[in-house]
Symmetry: C2
Subunit: 246 residues, 2 copies
């Protein structure tokens, strides 16, 4: 039995998120169906984590256990031939039997993309959140600095039952602007439900001047979701990278 | 009566081209419907030229004659609010009564975008032609040089009845590569039906090494459509700019 690791990208626009749900088009179901069509194996793929409806992935990682004799090069090409245009497998590699894409994920990097030009960017409209209001990116970056490190991020968590703890460690956080584009990168050892989108919605309120920069630290401290900004739309969010120990 | 000039962009993916056709979604019908919803005026807009099914526009230009009292700034914003997400009006300006977007167009610039990386570029898949085969862009550029200037381009014309002449003047032609992207820019005083797509299909055959560079000049000379390459797919083609005398 082989243990295969796949790196994949998908356009979340037309998916009801990652996880299989009866009657809905999901990335997991699409990938498992392509695998079955190619190899005859009906199996479950194990992802680093789920992504929600409308969220994109540049570098989602999964593993699966298969009896296929196909080389990883042939698998890569043949699997892509069986997948629809909005899912692409970028890499397929054999990994040690012990590797588990979910359990072994050490860090994930998410990117939230905002376009604040006066006119929507037509050809990228599915892949960013557009606002006509110019945001002050430098203020957003200063306000966000307090999020780095280990905190209880309960204020940025959509309620989710049976969560043991909402303490997470943000290992990297950066806000960049180029022309009419702002992108927020957040890398952490794990994410709460809707955490990046709640952070983005909060920082957008700072960028528009609704809230002082100091408000973000107060929100963290309060551990109260009602104080943070709105959950920013899914179409601006990308799972960029999942890191494992080498 | 005002004469208004609009510059607009559209994503051709979900349109059956520019021109109104009963029962089909076209850009012209979509724009005229938005105008009617906004002003109550049922009018015809006059474009620099039609674009075909699936072809995109960055800088299409139209004019229309209206009695509206709305300022051009208000028109721009309100019209965009009435348009679907795949059409954006970029500019609205009052122009002299004599201006005619079709008759007065002096030159048009089209761009054909090719991606020849090993894996399709997921988030731009609707806006380029993808080939897994690496193209030799420098050979394509050398082969294309003979197209500059005034020629009978009948070899690059899908048959179209009642065309008086297939002589056109290409005022600018360039092929550039950056990483896995190649773009072909062609500016001319006018274009025959499918002309840029036939040029692209021909140059792709050169870039793949099927044809020697010298073949392109022979094809021009022959005035025979069957000798040129296939009509490249519409999704890679953009109407970039229409130029008028100032």
């Amino acid at each position: 039995m082989r243990n295969l690791k796949l790196a994949l990208s998908y356009d979340g626009t037309d998916f009801h998120g990652w996880q299989v749900q009866p009657g809905l088009r999901t990335v997991q179901e699409t990938l498992e169906s392509a695998w079955a069509a190619l190899t005859g194996e009906r199996l479950r793929v194990n992802a680093s984590g789920r992504t929600d409806t409308g969220v994109h992935a540049v570098g989602q990682v999964v593993n699966l256990r298969s009896e296929t004799k196909l080389s990883s090069e042939v698998l890569l090409r043949a699997l892509n031939a069986h997948l629809p245009a909005d899912v692409v497998v970028r890499e397929a590699t054999d990994v040690p039997d012990s590797f588990d894409a979910n359990r072994d994920a050490k860090r994930k990097l998410y990117r939230y993309v905002i376009h604040d030009g006066p006119v929507p960017e037509l050809f990228l409209r599915r892949y960013c959140y557009h606002t006509r209001y110019r945001l002050e990116a430098a203020a957003m970056a200063r306000a966000a600095a307090c999020l780095r490190g280990t905190h209880d991020f309960h204020s940025f968590e959509t309620e989710w039952p049976n969560r043991a703890t909402s303490v997470r460690t943000i290992t990297h956080l950066a806000i960049n602007r180029f022309a009419d584009w702002i992108w927020l990168d957040v890398e952490a050892d794990g994410f709460l439900y809707n955490m990046v989108r709640a952070i983005a919605g909060t920082l957008i309120n700072v960028g528009r001047g609704y809230w002082p920069e100091s408000r973000v630290a107060e929100i963290v401290e309060a551990k109260d979701r009602t104080l943070a900004g709105p959950t920013a739309p899914a179409l601006g969010l990308f799972l960029m990278r999942v890191s494992y120990d080498e």
